[in-house]
Symmetry: C3
Subunit: 147 residues, 3 copies
């Protein structure tokens, strides 16, 4: 975990996290890493933006209590967007690009009293669609308090 250098205080920094994925399709719970970034920011009320700078990966919010939920999700996505099809993209990972846009490159989570506001069953997942790889996740925490 490293920080981009800039001339601003913490509130304007972007935190870069590293995630290692273990399979072509994989979902990694990154909620704990994001909570650490929020805690370190000392921001009490505001927003936490999680952004994936890749085009064959994504980030989403879903349930982690039962590991079958992410497994079922990856299976259902594979059925809806099959890996082998009449794609023209030569790299052979066109399906991963499509899934990336369907799930999305970012999520925002509200922060109140220094805590991420997530529902009981919600976790933040990094979604790998063309792994295994070492990936980056950018996190920016911003205050909504005036002045």
């Amino acid at each position: 975990m490293e920080t981009f250098s800039n001339k601003q205080g913490w509130k304007d920094r972007i935190k870069k996290l590293t995630v290692k994925t273990g399979a072509r399709s994989d979902m990694i719970d990154i909620t704990g890493m994001i909570r650490s970034v929020v805690r370190e920011s000392n921001i009490q009320n505001g927003f936490c933006y999680v952004f994936v700078p890749h085009t064959t990966a994504a980030v989403t919010i879903n349930e982690n209590a039962d590991p079958d939920v992410p497994r079922d999700m990856l299976m259902a996505l594979d059925k809806a967007i099959p890996w082998h099809d009449q794609y023209r993209h030569q790299e052979g990972n066109a399906a991963a690009h499509v899934k990336s846009s369907l799930v999305g490159a970012s999520v925002v989570v509200l922060i109140e009293d220094g805590n991420l506001i997530l529902g009981t069953w919600q976790s933040v997942f990094f979604c790998e669609f063309d792994g295994p790889r070492t990936r980056e996740v950018l996190v920016k925490v911003t205050s909504s308090e005036q002045g």
Copy 2:
């Protein structure tokens, strides 16, 4: 409709709305409720974040002029992500979890001169994928004006 307690003024509060859904798959237009929250905030220029703290529901923007649009959407989602499939999740609602991630847990709408900036045909919909249930929606309005 209640407000989380905190020590900030209105701008840092999160508004909690309640939505009752009427079927396993349902879409409820919540634009009016969101407009009320924006009006009450008295914020003139900024952003309105709508966040669903559930893992078998979602929020989206689409057309409400013709009620067939949300109906067709729920039908098309059911075809792309069938309710019965080779899921392992024991609760039997794996499809609802997948749809939740595909549609997404949040939307943001711009605010200008105190109004939500939505296109002519755009409404904000709460999307139920495992109802009927009583659900929550969190709304946070934040100003983009400096100082």
Copy 3:
């Protein structure tokens, strides 16, 4: 490219871009237009919101190095959400509405030192699902620096 009139300085303005699409399904790279809006705003650290005020279009982030990526994406979306199906919406464009919600009406991109923070392969695409048409894209740049 025009600007909504309001009484605030640049930071509170919403920039309206125009995009012409060339087919029923089309993806147009709008990264350059968005970079111009960010540059003109002179905001160094913050966020750029890109919002589509249409219900049969969307905005996404994906690869543009190989034009086959957007082509494959439109093909895969057409297979998952077929144009002709048991839809009830009389206008005949129900599939476009569904794709609009799956891909989403907005993206947010982080800004640091005056630059959009995008991964090496990431571009911002306007997604047309019921064209060809002339469409609008709203862009709002906001600073995360305090006071």
